[in-house]
């Protein structure tokens, strides 16, 4: 139920890995992993992992907030919330009646919005009445679902579901939880039903919940505010400039009909990969899973063309003057995840950021002692389309964002001018191999990694193959990519400046901290 919005404090999971001695592991996964593309276009990946009588799944839908229609940002994420609202048989006492009542809400809402958004001659009394009509229609429809609200989630939790959640980001939407193994068939039913007969019930109340989510993640959080302004500035043309959570006016406008339309267009079987990992035999599990998911009717794959971001040829900067402590962030455009240099960027991120041997830690935290934390990472704000390689630093009290910029740029210059050392290159490759190994030890982690690789590359084996590519990264590659990417004109800068505490005399607590 969360929109996966980048948080600076969270080091993003590194999917990139290396695999020198991992041939036997890929071999082991070849034996345990089965892929089946159903006639309706849906892909099923199942992987046997007989450690405990449980399983985890990950449903990957190849549609994210990049697919939000103009004027309806936040819709992909909104639908994700609606996928917990039940079906025509789950969460209703009389669907035939409810269906009619839900349609009436949409008519009333459309009338209300038409009056509300009139550029001239809006009739306030009429608007008030239309709003009342809309709310009355909602109350009438609610009678069909009460007291079965949250029935879908209740079934999952009551049956022992663990970690039920979902996420939406700019690139995709994902749904996941774990169940005891004796609920495999029940899961296959529930998860396929959810995308076979979704019902947009309690849509406008859930929209308020999402608006609260926006207030929490973005409006009331300085780092959230910075990220929204920063990505909006970095992408002029491509939809990556949008917030996944949606702009507030869009959230206050789009309808249940819009969400249903989004579902119909993008939640088509050929856009979905369902991955299941756990304690089963593939020969027994696959027919059960197929039986339920094959019911979803085939529909045409949607057009996913987007505007290409043109080359950036001028530095851009956003400065937020806040009551909170300073922060420095900068990003450089880079190609999408299919770029032959993808693993070079991953190697640079690792070199600059992993642990206390990383260059940024050593320069800014250990030696200059100007930052509490600093790192570089790739994948902002997504990775399916050309995106940003970013650097950030949190200045310690008494130090300013400009010092962060200078120190980060000095480290970037080193990357451009000097080869990294043999030890550093070896460290990157060894760490990649170890990270891969450690990622294979949980059902949830495996379902996510196998599913994402299957969706992105049409082959889960890329999880292992990307390792071979990182092993081929050379010192010259790192210099070449650094010189090509980290140029001033290709840079967007985001800064939080401390602008003093709130105005005195209103009883608020001023910020301290020797500022």
């Amino acid at each position: 139920m969360k929109s996966r919005i980048f948080s600076l404090q969270i080091v993003t999971a590194c999917l990139v890995v290396s695999s020198l001695a991992l041939a036997q592991d890929l071999g082991s996964f070849e034996k345990r992993t089965t892929v089946k593309k159903l006639a309706n276009g849906l892909t099923i990946v199942i992987c046997e992992r007989p450690q405990a009588p449980v399983f985890s799944f990950f449903t990957h839908v190849d549609a994210g907030s990049v697919q939000d229609p103009m004027g309806k940002t936040g819709l992909a994420h909104m639908f994700e919330h609606m996928a917990f609202k039940g079906t025509d048989t789950i969460g209703t006492r009389d669907y035939a009646g409810e269906k009619v009542a839900l349609a009436k809400i949409e008519d009333a809402y459309a009338a209300y919005i038409a009056e509300r958004d009139k550029p001239v001659d809006r009739d306030e009394a009429k608007l008030k009445q239309l709003e009342l009509n809309w709310k009355d229609a909602i109350a009438a429809a609610d009678k069909f679902s009460a007291p079965y609200s949250n029935e879908f989630g209740k079934i999952v939790e009551g049956e022992g579901g663990e970690g039920m959640n979902a996420f939406t980001d700019l690139d995709e939407t994902g749904y996941h939880y774990s169940f005891p193994i004796n609920r495999l068939e029940l899961w296959a039913y529930l998860e396929s039903e959810r995308f076979l007969h979704p019902v947009m019930r309690q849509f406008y109340k859930e929209r308020n919940v999402v608006i609260e989510e926006r207030r929490m993640r973005t409006d009331s959080n300085p780092v959230g505010r910075l990220l929204e302004q920063f990505t909006e500035e970095a992408f002029a043309a491509h939809p990556y400039h949008r917030p996944t959570i949606g702009w507030i006016s869009d959230l206050n406008s789009f309808s249940a009909t819009d969400a249903q339309t989004f579902f119909d267009k993008y939640y088509v079987p050929s856009n979905m990969v369902v991955t299941v990992v756990g304690d089963f035999k593939a020969s027994e599990a696959m027919p059960v899973i197929e039986k339920y998911f094959a019911r979803i009717p085939a529909r045409p794959k949607p057009d996913t063309a987007t505007t290409n971001e043109p080359p950036q040829n001028a530095e851009r900067t956003v400065v937020l003057r806040e009551q909170s402590q300073p922060l420095y962030l900068e990003g450089y455009h880079r190609p999408d995840y299919r770029s032959p240099d993808d693993q070079v960027y991953d190697a640079i991120a690792d070199l600059m950021s992993s642990g206390r041997t990383s260059r940024l830690y050593r320069a800014l935290v250990r030696d200059k002692q100007i930052a509490a934390d600093s790192a570089g990472f790739t994948g902002l704000p997504g990775s399916k389309y050309p995106h940003l390689f970013a650097f950030y630093a949190f200045p310690i009290p008494g130090h300013k964002p400009q010092e962060m910029a200078d120190a980060i740029h000095a480290e970037i210059d080193r990357l451009k001018k000097e080869d990294i050392s043999d030890d550093e290159l070896k460290m990157i490759k060894t760490r990649a191999k170890a990270n891969l190994i450690r990622s294979l030890g949980s059902n949830e982690g495996l379902a996510f990694a196998l599913g994402l690789n299957q969706a992105r590359y049409d082959d889960w084996r890329e999880l292992f193959r990307s390792v071979e590519r990182i092993d081929k990264v050379s010192k010259a590659d790192i210099r070449r990519v650094a010189n090509k990417t980290f140029t001033p004109d290709n840079r967007t800068v985001g800064i939080i400046e401390f602008a003093g505490g709130p105005p005195p005399g209103n009883g608020a607590a001023p910020q301290g901290g020797g500022q």
Binding site: Q51, A52, P53, V54, T89, I90, G153, V156, E157, G158, G160, G161, E162, N182, L186, Y189, L190, E193, Q202, K205, E206, R207, N208, V209, V210, E212, E213, R215, M216, S220, P222, R295, E322, Q323, Q325, R356, T357, V365, R366, I370, A372, F394, I396, P397, G398, H399, K400, E403, T430, R431, A434, I437, P502, P503, G507, A509, P510, Q511, G512, G513
Partner: protein
């Protein structure tokens, strides 16, 4: 002719498939989730770690797990932040960092970093409320190299001054940022209202208390607590237990006992019930927390309260989620329950965040939920759902060898019977509607709660004072001692 025959054959086949599909979906329409068979879960007896107690009192758990070629270990050492005097608050955080970054007698922390990272291995240390930890994590092939470093860190730390300086600066940074996020403010101030502002379970580090910590304090702390009789070591991974046991016996067997760590006796000193307000002008959402003192897990009511918590405020199925979020649309985050600590009372906490304009409405909605517990007690259906939810997901408490190890280490640390988990399952099964009503009445008292609101006061639907007298909390960060931090703009 031939062509057309082929076409019609294809047509017939297609029609047949379409018919089958149609049949399938007709059949599906009439199916409900209750009709799906749920076979009995196969018996599952997770592997238990081997417990070894050395003559010097050190307790070791060995848990083999051969799935991946790794070996990880954690030593948990008694004694933590709650034993630190108030004027040195922050000591165990600095200790937990510099224990490792400060290196050993023969190796600097930087040298250890290089050595370990070449092997993609970790040796790390950390400070906590009731204990500190030293741990390692490595590929099996590097175990000898990495374990040697672990032992060196465990026994011969040097706490070099330059790393103390870095650790302190990092903590000054954390202090300076602590009022930036409203959720963080709410969590911190709520704990103070339950335990008391100067209580070790709630107090916050200040510039002066962090600056007061010296290298000698870290050395003294290490000398006081790091003795085998204060340590529980857990090892999990791809090794042979017999060989590992022999090796650990040889390594630690001759380590002499030291004085046993004593836990301080700390009593909560809750604030007076009533309304507490923190004004934050750069937000459009209020964080609301209603809090009072909770229970320890040793309390026999723990099991009934676990069912109550699940039904009242835990997850999708709970009353709070259903009423406050789904039905009223007032919050994204809402939940709560009677919290429990292993060896000290946890917090009873009911919390939500809502737009500034529905702050008072939301407090009243939560009030109604609490009042409803008496008027509309948690019913049979809710009890069944809560118990099903706990019991059917029970397997996830021990679905990996590492989780089993962690549970056993916790029982050992806090002196719980090693079958606590099995017992928990039996006790949950026994909980009745009457039990839940009884514990709700016993522990959930609205008139004993402190109600904290962090938000943009000017935008509230009504002043909090319409509900009762308001205590305004001053969260101003005390200024650092003069000369501790560079003045802004005074940097080189």
């Amino acid at each position: 002719m031939k062509r057309s025959q082929r076409f019609s054959l294809a047509f017939v086949l297609l029609a047949a498939i379409a018919f089958l599909n149609c049949n399938e979906s007709l059949w599906a329409q009439t199916q409900t989730w209750q009709q799906i068979p749920v076979p009995k879960l196969p018996a599952f007896h997770p592997k238990q770690p081997k417990r070894i107690e050395l003559p010097n009192g050190m307790v070791i758990f060995l848990q083999e797990d051969h799935e991946l070629p790794t070996i990880d270990g954690t030593a948990r050492i008694r004694g933590g932040a709650r034993s630190v005097p108030a004027n040195k608050s922050g000591l165990t955080d600095i200790y937990g960092e510099v224990w490792r970054t400060g290196g050993t007698k023969t190796q600097t922390g930087d040298q250890l970093d290089d050595y370990l990272e070449q092997r993609a291995a970790k040796v790390e240390t950390g400070g906590g409320g009731d204990s500190t930890t030293a741990s390692w994590s490595c590929l099996k092939e590097d175990f000898d190299d990495v374990f040697r470093v672990f032992l060196d860190v465990l026994k011969n730390p040097e706490f070099r001054a330059d790393k103390i300086d870095i650790a302190q600066k990092g903590m000054y940074d954390g202090i300076s940022r602590r009022n930036d996020d409203p959720g963080q403010i709410a969590g911190r101030e709520a704990a103070k209202l339950v335990y008391g502002a100067n209580n070790p379970y709630a107090r916050v580090d200040e510039y002066a208390t962090v600056a007061a910590v010296t290298r000698q304090d870290l050395i003294d702390w290490h000398g006081r607590y790091v003795h085998p009789n204060n340590i529980i070591l857990g090892v999990v991974g791809d090794f042979d237990s017999a060989k590992m046991e022999a090796r650990l016996r040889e390594t630690f067997g001759s380590w002499p006992k030291g004085p046993a760590a004593k836990d301080p006796d700390i009593k909560p000193e809750p604030a007076k019930p009533g309304y507490y307000q923190v004004e934050k002008t750069d937000v459009n959402q209020s964080n609301i927390q209603m809090v009072s003192v909770g229970i320890t897990r040793k309390n026999p009511d723990y099991f009934a309260l676990s069912v109550f918590n699940e039904a009242f405020g835990g997850g999708f199925s709970s009353r709070l989620f259903g009423d406050i979020r789904t039905t009223k649309g007032l919050a994204y985050g809402v939940g709560g329950g009677v919290g429990s600590g292993w060896d000290h009372p946890g917090m009873l906490r009911i919390m939500m965040s809502t737009k500034s304009q529905s702050t008072i409405e939301s407090i009243q909605a939560l009030d109604e939920e609490i009042a409803d517990l008496a008027k509309r007690p948690i019913d049979d259906k809710e009890i069944k759902l809560a118990k099903d939810s706990i019991l059917n997901s029970f397997v996830f408490r021990f679905d990996s060898p590492a989780k089993v190890l962690q549970e056993k280490m916790a029982y050992e640390f806090y002196g719980y019977p090693s079958d606590f988990l099995e017992n928990f399952q039996r006790e949950i099964e026994k909980v009745t509607k009457e039990d839940v009503a009884r514990v709700a009445a016993k522990y959930v008292h609205r008139d004993q709660m402190a109600v904290l609101v962090v938000g943009n006061v000017a935008e509230f639907d009504k002043p909090v004072s319409t509900l009762g007298p308001v205590n305004k909390l001053d969260i101003t960060i005390p200024a650092p001692p003069k000369g501790l931090l560079p003045e802004q703009g005074d940097h080189p």
